[in-house]
């Protein structure tokens, strides 16, 4: 699903965020991306979502070479990816329903179809009763679940999460991780950047560990 082939990323100003990183994630697998702040976790996720472009190396997503993807094609690639952020990135002036519906509206689905799928996604994350609420009226855990519903509503084959539990207490974090496991069980490839090592240690998934931009350990992943 994801293949990094000697990927390097140098930001303007000379900082090397990633140096010759190579790894491979199979379709339907789930893995954690770990490392300290500034180790390059976010950069790695951004490269996959085409928010940044690699300086060197080849990057493949679902068999397509992202290193040479023209700008026009970027939206099509992003629709294959559900993204989840530490600060949720919800639209504060829209209801929960409208936030979750956004990817479907963008993809041009019909009205009835959107309603059906949004409710299914909200049901999945346990927020079916809150569709008319605004994000500020929700707790942090609920907001993150809205973010997850938005990420999965158009059933992308890949989920990327950048510190999804960073602002949540341990119990809520476990709930969120459990949600990711459920999506993985139905075949979605899941890659989660996190420095919550206690939580990760208890879960039986691959780890991709970065240290100062280099891949230092790849537990289980081939």
């Amino acid at each position: 699903m994801i293949r990094f082939d000697h990927i390097s990323k140098r930001y303007p100003g000379g900082r090397d965020a990633l140096q010759s990183v190579s790894f491979h994630m199979h379709r339907g697998s789930m893995a954690f991306l770990t490392g300290r702040s500034g180790a390059g976790k976010s950069t790695l996720l951004k490269l996959i979502a085409l928010l940044e472009r690699p300086t060197r190396g080849q990057l493949f997503l679902d068999g397509e070479n992202l290193s040479r993807m023209p700008r026009r094609q970027v939206p099509r690639i992003r629709r294959k990816i559900g993204m989840i952020f530490q600060n949720y990135r919800l639209l504060c002036d829209r209801t929960v329903f409208d936030n979750v519906a956004l990817p479907l509206v963008i993809a041009g689905h019909r009205h009835q179809e959107i309603g059906r799928r949004v409710r299914a996604a909200l049901d999945k994350v346990g927020l079916l009763g809150k569709e008319r609420a605004f994000p500020v009226m929700l707790s942090g855990g609920e907001q993150q679940r809205v973010g997850i519903a938005r990420a999965v509503v158009n059933r992308p084959p890949l989920l990327l999460a950048d510190e999804p539990t960073g602002n949540l207490d341990p119990e809520l974090s476990r709930d969120i991780m459990h949600l990711f496991e459920q999506f993985n069980q139905v075949g979605v490839t899941v890659l989660i950047a996190s420095h919550d090592l206690d939580l990760i240690a208890r879960l039986p998934y691959d780890q991709i560990r970065l240290e100062q931009g280099r891949l230092v350990q790849e537990r289980g992943a081939s």
């Binding site: 979502a49 928010l51 990135r89 990817p103 041009g108 938005r150």
Partner: protein
């Protein structure tokens, strides 16, 4: 079937974006109204001047239509020769209508209108000549044909003097033309102003919705999708401004209606100030819509691509 459904879906989406853009303007009524008012005034100025000069041109067209040549006949022509001349002239294809004013009639009219009655009584004989007013046929009313006709009439032995009352109409037309051209310059400048106003408004709107743009990009929105609401906002501003301009122009013309009629009355004319018709209103609307769309397009092209999610 599939195509029709796709088209239906496409139109539906556009309609939805159009309405939600309108709703967004409605939610900030004061700011929207102020922008619309500025655009409306900027559009009303040239539109109103156009309507006025249009009326002036119409006025001069009426005069064009009544272009007449006055033939002052030689004095002491016998009645018979005058009658013969009238009959000859009536055969000319260039001439639509003749009006004969005998010397006595001319005198009577002059006495009546000038108030010099007593002075005229002191004269031994009538100083005024008989006049034939010649109305050219419609095809001969333009300046060139009328001049040619004048030349032919001037050569008639019975005619002392032939005059064409066209020159001042031409001068008047030339002035109206200059005014119209100046208005075109003013209109272009104000059109540019409208473009900049809308462009700037949309630029601010883009900045206000930066977060939203970033997030929609993150979930895979195309440039066209992100552009659409801003283009519709520009379109609504343009149409709203044009609507306001129409109201302003109509009110102004209505205000001028009574004095214009009074003035026309002084000239024994039944001239009425024309209000802006459906064609003119439509033109104004289209102008507003195009300027709005164009202004938004310029702003969107410059500022939207700079916003990338990080």
């Amino acid at each position: 079937m599939n195509f029709a459904r796709g088209l239906n879906n496409y139109v539906g989406r556009h309609l939805q974006v159009a309405l939600s853009s309108l709703g967004r303007l409605y939610r900030t009524p004061l700011a929207s109204l102020m922008t619309t008012a500025v655009i409306g005034i900027a559009l009303a100025l040239p539109a109103g001047l156009y309507a006025l000069t249009g009326n002036l041109q119409q006025l001069s067209n009426r005069w064009d239509g009544s272009t007449s040549l006055s033939l002052f006949l030689k004095k002491s022509l016998p009645e018979g020769r005058i009658e013969a001349l009238r009959q000859t002239l009536e055969q000319w294809p260039e001439i639509a209508r003749l009006q004969f004013i005998s010397a006595d009639q001319a005198l009577e009219e002059f006495r009546h209108l000038s108030g010099f009655g007593e002075a005229l009584d002191a004269l031994d004989e009538n100083p005024l000549p008989a006049v034939i007013a010649v109305q050219p046929a419609p095809a001969y009313r333009d300046a060139e044909s009328a001049s040619a006709l004048l030349e032919r009439l001037r050569r008639l032995p019975e005619v002392e003097l032939a005059q064409l009352d066209l020159q001042w109409v031409q001068r008047f037309n030339a002035i109206v033309d200059i005014v119209r051209r100046s208005i075109a310059v003013v209109a272009s400048l104000l059109g540019l102003a409208v473009l900049l106003i809308i462009g700037n408004t949309i630029r601010l709107e883009i900045q206000n919705r930066r977060e939203e743009i970033e997030i929609t990009r993150l979930v895979g929105a195309t440039d066209a999708f992100i552009r659409r609401p801003f283009l519709y906002t520009g379109l609504w501003y343009g149409i709203g401004g044009a609507l306001l301009a129409t109201v302003l122009v109509e009110i102004a013309l209505l205000q001028l209606q009574a004095p214009a009629r009074e003035l026309a009355g002084l000239y024994q004319s039944d001239f009425r100030l024309q209000m802006a018709g459906p064609g003119e209103i439509l033109t104004l609307m289209a102008t507003g819509a195009i300027l709005g769309l164009l202004g938004a397009w310029l702003a969107v092209g410059r500022h939207l691509s700079a916003i990338e999610p990080a």
